[in-house]
Amino acid sequence: MKDTITPVAVPRAINWNRLQDDKDLEVWNRLTVNFWLPEKVPLSNDVQSWATLRPEERELTIRVFTGLTLLDTIQNTVGAPALLPDAQTPHEEAVLTNIAFMEAVHARSYSSIFSTLCSTKEVDEAFRWSEDNPHLQAKARAILSDYAPGADPLKRKIASVFLESFLFYSGFYLPMYWSSRARLTNTADLIRLIIRDEAVHGYYIGYKFQRALERETEARQAELKDYAFALMFDLYDIEAKYTAELYDGIGLTEDVKAFLHYNANKALQNLGYEALFPPAACEVNPAILAALSPDSENHDFFSGSGSSYVIGKAVATEDEDWDF
């Protein structure tokens, strides 16, 4: 009998000993070594601290975390998988599936925080709020339209980097703020693990964007740059409204916005672009920066501020490659 079935394409078995792009292995190693699960963080140590928050502060915190859950859900089920067909190497596909899975871990982590600290009723209310909040829904839609099948592969990467490196930060601000005031410090430890992962994701997708951009014509490069800055303006506009709605009540909106500007510039740098917001707009509250990277003051030997002759604390830096 004649076989009339159209042959399906079989992918080639991945060989990690033949790399087309060394960055794939470098990032794979970084992500797998950094793997974690929420069970590793003793969230229950925050129960007492949670009880000291005022009801409106608790409501704000739960809402912020449902907003973050939505972004992680999108990146897990739509965003990272949408990048797979555009992958240039089999190793890139493997890295993207790791990214997709970690986004599921992140989304799952917020539910661990909720089940440890909050009542079911509070959490259900916050999830309803997230479904009805026009700004949260607007930012999700703006990103999803770039992820849609048939969308421009490079615009998809731009949207993905903005989600990873910019859109999360209106939310990440709050646990860093609580941590700087010695509240919810275990929750902050968990969020720092998420922030670390998102930094690698934004870096890697931005790197792949830059490699792909090199192959485009000048006209197309200009079009994509215009697109990136226009999308950043649109997203910033939504974020500013979302931020005001969340943070006006505790008087932190302007402080959060400085953090947004700072992160918007870093997202653009991940794509290889220059900053959009001027330095004066990016002066992040030092307590927030310190909460982001504890024990790592900004060295400025030149200005004479800060400690300098740091002959570093012993960290795990043993490396057989050093000859001295």
Partner: protein, 137 residues
């Protein structure tokens, strides 16, 4: 004024920072097969950080290979480190590791490709630094 030596991976963040400084600088190659720069005068090293969550692997292998040579290492006077605060306590860790290994100061740290403020501070800082440093090896 002394020199600058830098490493930048294929992502190009550190290369963009160095380009913004507008100072001549020798690049440590990404590929081990390519020739290393051979500085004749004292220099400051600009190096990004690639640490994992435990701080391992902070200094790129090519930078380690560059510093393993005693003649090149003898001329290093300071280090400027790149990084990302999102990596928490390992932010700009490469600077601390190189400082400890070579007994030289961490002069400055910056994120990704740096900001306008970073560029201004580093330019002015290097000017002053070389004004006070002894340039004879």
């Amino acid at each position: 004024m002394g020199g600058l030596v830098y490493y930048s991976s294929a992502s190009g963040n550190t290369a963009r920072f160095v380009a913004a400084l507008g100072l001549s600088a020798a690049r440590i190659p990404i590929r081990p097969a390519d020739p290393m720069p051979a500085p004749a005068l004292p220099y400051v090293l600009i190096c990004p950080t690639f640490a994992d969550g435990m701080g391992r692997g902070a200094v790129p292998k090519q930078v380690i290979a560059f510093l393993n040579d005693p003649a090149r290492r003898a001329l290093i006077r300071g280090v400027i480190a790149g990084g990302n605060r999102n990596f928490g306590e390992t932010y700009a860790l490469a600077g601390k590791v190189i400082a400890a290994k070579c007994a030289i100061p961490v002069l400055y740290s910056f994120e990704l490709a740096g900001t306008e403020t970073d560029v201004t501070r580093v330019r002015a800082g290097l000017d002053r630094f070389w004004g006070t440093e002894c340039l004879t090896p």
